[in-house]
């Protein structure tokens, strides 16, 4: 092969790779929320602080990698009394275990433009495998990964003692995430 065409191909591949892989997590455009059931009634909550290291090509999410870190003390349950309670020992014990982490191990396509991320979720010293289905939406400057999974709180000892009673607070917590990842160019453009 001619050196000139090799150079062209290299340049082309590099451009494509640069344009395709997104690595800049944007917390402002992202959110982690959850729905618990209290006395059978769905109640919304969210985490205000979380961080992520993500490298993903939205056109080929199967090759993507993600690590998320959630600051558990940043929880907003909708009531100050409950916020204080869930930071305590019976729930997150956020003084001893300040962060929840998710580390992806695999992403696979499940059809209809949907994917699922498999990985390890660690909360309060307990690690479990989770599978989180998600969709990808390309947006200006990046892509939004939108998904959810059900977490069984008792598997992570979230709510010990009297709170193990699931007739008041159900075991299943639906965790929803919207994670926005931008490309490098978007970041440098935003910085100007």
């Amino acid at each position: 092969m001619q050196p000139r065409s090799l150079l062209l191909i290299t340049a082309f591949t590099a451009t494509v790779a640069m344009a395709a892989e997104l690595t800049q997590f944007n917390p402002e455009k992202s959110q982690i929320t959850f729905i618990s059931k209290q006395m059978g009634v769905p109640v919304d909550g969210r985490f205000k602080k979380f961080d992520a290291k993500i490298a993903v090509d939205p056109a080929k999410p199967e090759a993507g990698k993600a690590q998320l870190e959630i600051d558990l003390a940043s929880i907003d349950t909708g009531s100050g009394e409950a916020d204080a309670e869930v930071k305590g020992k019976a729930w997150f014990n956020s003084a001893a275990f300040p962060k929840a982490t998710f580390v992806s191990s695999q992403v696979r396509a499940i059809g209809n433009g949907r994917y699922e991320a498999l990985g390890k979720l660690t909360i309060k010293g307990t690690t479990r495998d989770v599978v989180a289905p998600f969709t990808v939406r390309q947006e200006v400057g990046g892509a939004l990964f939108d998904g959810s999974f059900t977490l069984n709180r008792l598997q992570f000892k979230i709510g010990e003692g009297m709170w193990t009673d699931t007739s008041t607070v159900a075991d299943e917590i639906q965790v929803k995430f919207k994670v926005f990842v931008a490309g490098d160019s978007a970041k440098s453009a935003a910085k100007k």
Binding site: M39, V43, E81, E85, W163, V169
Partner: protein, 178 residues
């Protein structure tokens, strides 16, 4: 023509209302001071279910009252007539206003009301912390008003029964013969 006595339905609704209020009110005061626990969450739900039951009973009662006139008050000084009427009117207002303020407060605080865990009531206002805190104060103030009015209502009934020894209280019983 004004009837001589209350209908049995009116009497039943009156005492049902009394029972519900004398359950929901102390429950509300008690649960408010409890530290957070599963019991507290249960009591909040029971209180909300009672409140919505009161709202429905109030609607039934008002509808009945409008279509079935109450007997005239017994002979008593004019100021007592005015006081009794005024208190009755205000009580009717509170029977609606207190459950409504509680319902709205629940919505504003992001905890939907689901009657007996079965029937979800629509959230008439969105989640809003400031509005939730305001409605909480309104709910509390209205209940303080209710406490005073029910106190006056009961005191009046007892005064008529034990001091004037008239039929005012007896008229609110099923066995009363006009």
């Amino acid at each position: 023509m004004t009837p001589k006595r209350y209908t049995r339905t009116a009497i039943a609704l009156h005492w049902l209302m009394a029972l519900l209020i004398f359950s929901a009110f102390p429950l509300g005061v008690y649960m408010n001071d409890l530290p957070l626990s599963p019991t507290k969450l249960q009591l909040f739900s029971y209180h909300k279910w009672l409140g919505i039951t009161i709202l429905l009973a109030a609607a039934a009662r008002l509808a009945w009252r409008v279509t079935h006139p109450a007997p005239a008050l017994l002979a008593m000084p004019r100021w007592q007539h005015l006081a009794a009427h005024g208190i009755h009117h205000l009580l009717y207002v509170l029977l609606f206003a207190i459950p409504l303020s509680g319902w709205l407060m629940s919505s504003a605080k992001g905890f939907q009301t689901v009657w007996f865990g079965v029937l979800p009531l629509p959230d008439l206002v969105g989640k809003n912390k400031e509005l939730g805190d305001l409605l909480r104060n309104v709910h509390e103030a209205l209940n303080f008003g209710l406490l005073l009015l029910v106190g006056a209502h009961v005191a009046g009934a007892l005064k008529h029964h034990f001091i004037e020894r008239d039929d005012t209280l007896r008229r609110m019983t099923f066995r009363y013969k006009a």
